[in-house]
Symmetry: C2
Subunit: 341 residues, 2 copies
């Protein structure tokens, strides 16, 4: 690799001191009373050799990198990748770059990524945490590194977060089905103790019980969501099992899998079965029938995440007060959940 | 921010030299004939204070970061985000982390991101280049930094790339429509001089001409693809303009926009209009009718990209010989392109 010229090389070449070169390149020439002539000489020469200060060394001195990390469950999931783009654009305008990575909701991977980035001194972390990384988050906070949690959080940890009101969203979706005369309403979700999922379940269960209806729940283990057996399970639950008249899915990937199952087996099923999904996307807008969806406010979530982070970055290390934002999701009613009688 | 203990602090605390501490922490204690007892003392103490070597300083010495960058047009586009995930998983197993970012196909943004990462000495770049960054790529290569271009490349630059045979894919798709008795076949694409797009156009035009048919092309400027006027233009082209009996779309986002337009205006149109799209995804599998698609081999592309990069990383700087891979896409025939007569 071509060696980058050092300050020493430049100083030698110009026959001045290293300190002089360093002051000039750090914009402190005037302040240090270096003559205009000498300043010009250093700048002209470093421009002519296309000299760039070593930013790794620089960030060792300043402790600032202007790099933020956005760690999500799966960067190829529409929900996360859209928010990533929204944040990337806001950050870009503010002079920050955002790097993305996926933790697959696995603790080991999350820990490795957090360590990797801490060692490289990024300025802040926005994280959709996997279940067991409370200690790592705590340690970032102790080290005064700005952290914003996203989508889910740890109840006994005082850290900034931006989430939606999952219980409310789920309750609205369930009540909407009840209002449209569905009563055997199944809830298909993933097995999880994380609060974004438990709150969705709670919203459903409470709405069902309030209406005197029996909750009917199928839970899929997260690691099996892309497996063929999941398709079979979903099919069994919807078609053979519980005489469901409708289903509410707690995530967009479960709905996608179910739509594929239905497509492969009995297309006419959708004429009778009520369907509501969590997380809107283009597929649900275009599908026949169009699918009613809980729509998370992506733009607002991205803006709120970035604003929370920028506030933390701009406040003195001593008062990094956590900000907790809970946004409301909306229900977008389409054909799939209209009364089928 | 809590100050990280320095080697000096540790040496002072243990009453040994800084060099001793440094040798032990860099796994050179034995080699440097430091006693087992002293090695144990240093390791026990640094473990007890949870000491972590400063990786920024370390990468200044070793020049290795084990970080790769994958710069795509738009990380929220299904095609790029899926490949990102595939590469992330392969890299993870090999001890590399991959960071993602989007350049929006804009040169300024590409340049800033390349500069940012070069200054932080990442080990390699995988880039879907925007049109005008040939010089920046050249400069990375001159500095012996491994680069693999993806999806498109610069014809007069000798750099590794992984692409698909766009001309062949486009030709197959067009011939498929012709074989199904379509003859007024429109081609909707984006305005672009980049070779992934010009080759798609060439494949279409040549196949049409070979069959004695007139090419009918609509080009949308890239910066307008999410604008409402694009919907109008597409509608005009398909519905009012050319008496088309079928359309071949050169990108998945154009197809999505068109499906929305059709959904909003005349759903029955899809019963008559033949449709083929570039880039498969779940939407096209589930849509009614299911949509025939040119399917890029995502898994193979991801693997080929990562293998090419790993080979470059493992070869000596002197012989970073470019590898150029051209993979074939396949046509997945579904209901939308079957003879409608």
């Amino acid at each position: 690799m071509k060696k980058r010229p050092s300050l020493k090389d430049i100083a030698k070449k110009l026959n001045v001191s290293v300190t002089t070169v360093s002051f000039v390149l750090n914009g402190k020439g005037k302040e240090k009373k270096i003559s205009d002539e000498l300043i010009k000489k250093v700048i002209d020469y470093t421009d002519s050799i296309n000299y760039r200060p070593n930013k790794v060394a620089q960030s060792l001195r300043t402790g600032k990198t202007n790099i933020l990390v956005f760690m999500v469950e799966d960067i190829s999931n529409y929900f996360f990748s859209k928010i990533a783009r929204i944040m990337e654009d806001i950050a870009y305008d503010k002079g920050y770059k955002v790097l993305f990575c996926s933790n697959e909701n696995e603790d080991e991977r999350s820990k490795e990524l957090i360590q990797l980035f801490s060692e490289r001194q990024v300025d802040g972390f926005i994280i959709s945490p996997s279940p067991g990384i409370q200690n790592e988050i705590e340690s970032l906070i102790e080290n005064k590194i700005p952290v914003v949690l996203f989508d889910r959080y740890f109840e006994d940890l005082d850290v900034s977060h931006v989430i939606i009101d999952n219980e409310d969203a789920s309750s609205k979706a369930t009540k909407h089905l009840i209002d449209n005369d569905f009563s055997r309403i199944g809830f298909i979700t993933i097995e999880s103790s994380q609060n974004q999922m438990t709150n969705r379940e709670k919203g459903y269960v409470d709405a069902m019980k309030s209406a005197g209806l029996e909750p009917l729940i199928l839970k899929i283990p997260f690691e099996k969501i892309h497996k063929e057996e999941t398709k079979l399970e979903i099919r069994k639950f919807i078609i053979e099992g519980q005489e469901l008249d409708s289903v509410f899915f707690s995530t967009n990937y479960l709905t996608r899998t179910a739509l594929e199952v239905i497509k492969e087996t009995d297309q006419t099923l959708l004429e009778k079965l009520g369907v509501v999904t969590f997380d809107d996307n283009e597929l649900f807008r275009i599908n026949t029938p169009t699918i009613t969806a809980v729509s998370q406010p992506l733009q607002e979530l991205g803006e709120s995440l970035m604003n929370t982070m920028l506030n933390l970055l701009n406040s003195k290390a001593e008062n990094l007060k956590p900000t907790k934002s809970v946004l409301k999701a909306s229900l977008i009613v389409r054909n799939s959940s209209i009364n089928k009688n």
